[in-house]
C-alpha cells in the first residue's frame, strides 16, 4: 500500500466517520464536533495531494479551510447557545419545530 493511498484512505475514513456522527448522533454539540472532523479529513486529503504534486495550492486551500472552520464555529456556537436557552436541552429532536 502506497503512502498516498494510506493517507487518502485515512482522510476518507475521517470524513465518513464525521458524516456518520452528524447523521446518527442526537447531541447538537457532538454534531458540531463531527463537522469539524469532516473538515479535518478534507484537510488531510488536501495536504496529501499538495505533497504529491509538489504545489502550494493545496496548502493555501488548507489555510482557507482553517478560516472557514473558525468562522463556522464562531457562528454555530452562539446559535446553539440560543437554542439551548430556549429549549433547555441539547437534544436535536426538541428542535423539530424549526422545520417551519
Amino acid at each position: 500500500m502506497d503512502r498516498t493511498q494510506l493517507l487518502l484512505a485515512v482522510a476518507a475514513g475521517l470524513f465518513a466517520l464525521g458524516l456518520l456522527g452528524v447523521i446518527v448522533r442526537r447531541n447538537v454539540l457532538v454534531m458540531l464536533m463531527c463537522m469539524e472532523l469532516m473538515l479535518n479529513g478534507v484537510n488531510l486529503s488536501l495536504v496529501t495531494f499538495a505533497q504529491q504534486t509538489a504545489t502550494t495550492a493545496g496548502a493555501v486551500l488548507v489555510f482557507l479551510t482553517f478560516v472557514v472552520a473558525t468562522a463556522e464555529i464562531a457562528l454555530a456556537i452562539p446559535i446553539v447557545l440560543l437554542l439551548v436557552r430556549d429549549k433547555r436541552t441539547l437534544d436535536l429532536d426538541a428542535y423539530s419545530d424549526l422545520k417551519g
Binding site: 502506497d2 503512502r3 498516498t4 493511498q5 494510506l6 493517507l7 487518502l8 484512505a9 485515512v10 476518507a12 475514513g13 470524513f15 465518513a16 466517520l17 458524516l19 456518520l20 456522527g21 447523521i23 446518527v24 448522533r25 442526537r26 447531541n27 457532538v30 458540531l32 464536533m33 469539524e36 472532523l37 479535518n40 484537510n43 488531510l44 495536504v47 499538495a50 505533497q51 509538489a54 504545489t55 502550494t56 496548502a59 493555501v60 488548507v62 489555510f63 482553517f66 478560516v67 472557514v68 472552520a69 473558525t70 468562522a71 464555529i73 464562531a74 457562528l75 456556537i77 452562539p78 447557545l81 440560543l82 439551548v84 436557552r85 430556549d86 433547555r88 441539547l90 437534544d91 429532536d93
Partner: protein, 185 residues
Amino acid sequence: MTAFIDGLLGGLDTLLLVVFSLCALTGAALMIFLRQPMRVAIALISTMVFLGGIYGLLGVHFIAAFQVLIYVGAVMVFMVYVIMLLEVRELGGTRYSRLLVPGLIGFVMLLGVVLISIWRALPASAGRTGASGNTAFGIGEFSIAFLNEYWLQFELTSVLLLAAVVAAMAVIKVSRRTDKTRPHG
C-alpha cells in the same frame, strides 16, 4: 552505514505514519461511541493532535503548527468552554437518533466507494514511496505564493471573517431582544 540509517529512518517514518493514522481513526471512531460531549471533545482533540503529527511527518511543518494552534488551541478550547458553560443534563435513553440504520448504510457505502476509487485510481507507485524528506515547499515558498498568487482569496477571507463577526453580534442582539420580551426565560 548512512544508507542503513536512512533506510531505518524511512522505516521509522512509515511506522510512525501508520501509528498516527490508526490513532487518529481510533479517536474519530470513539467520537461516535462516547456518550458525554466532553469525552467526545477530548477524542476530537486527540485526533487533531495526531493529524498534526501526520502533517509534521509529511514535511509541512507550518500546517502542523497551525493545526495545533488554530484547531486545538482556539476552536476546541472554545468548544470545551461552551460544553462546561452549558451544563445541561444529558438526555437519558439512547444517544443515537432514528437515522442510525440509514446512517450506517450510507457510511458503509460512502467509505466503500471512496476506498475502491482510491485503490483503482492511484496504483501503488513503487518508486517514490520511501522518500520521506521530499518536502516541496517550506514556509517561505508558501508565503510568497500565498501573497502573490492568492491575495484575492486572502482578502476575501477577511471579508468572510468580518461577516462572521457581524453575524455573531446579530445573534447576540436577537438573544437580548428575546430576554426583554420574556423576562423569566
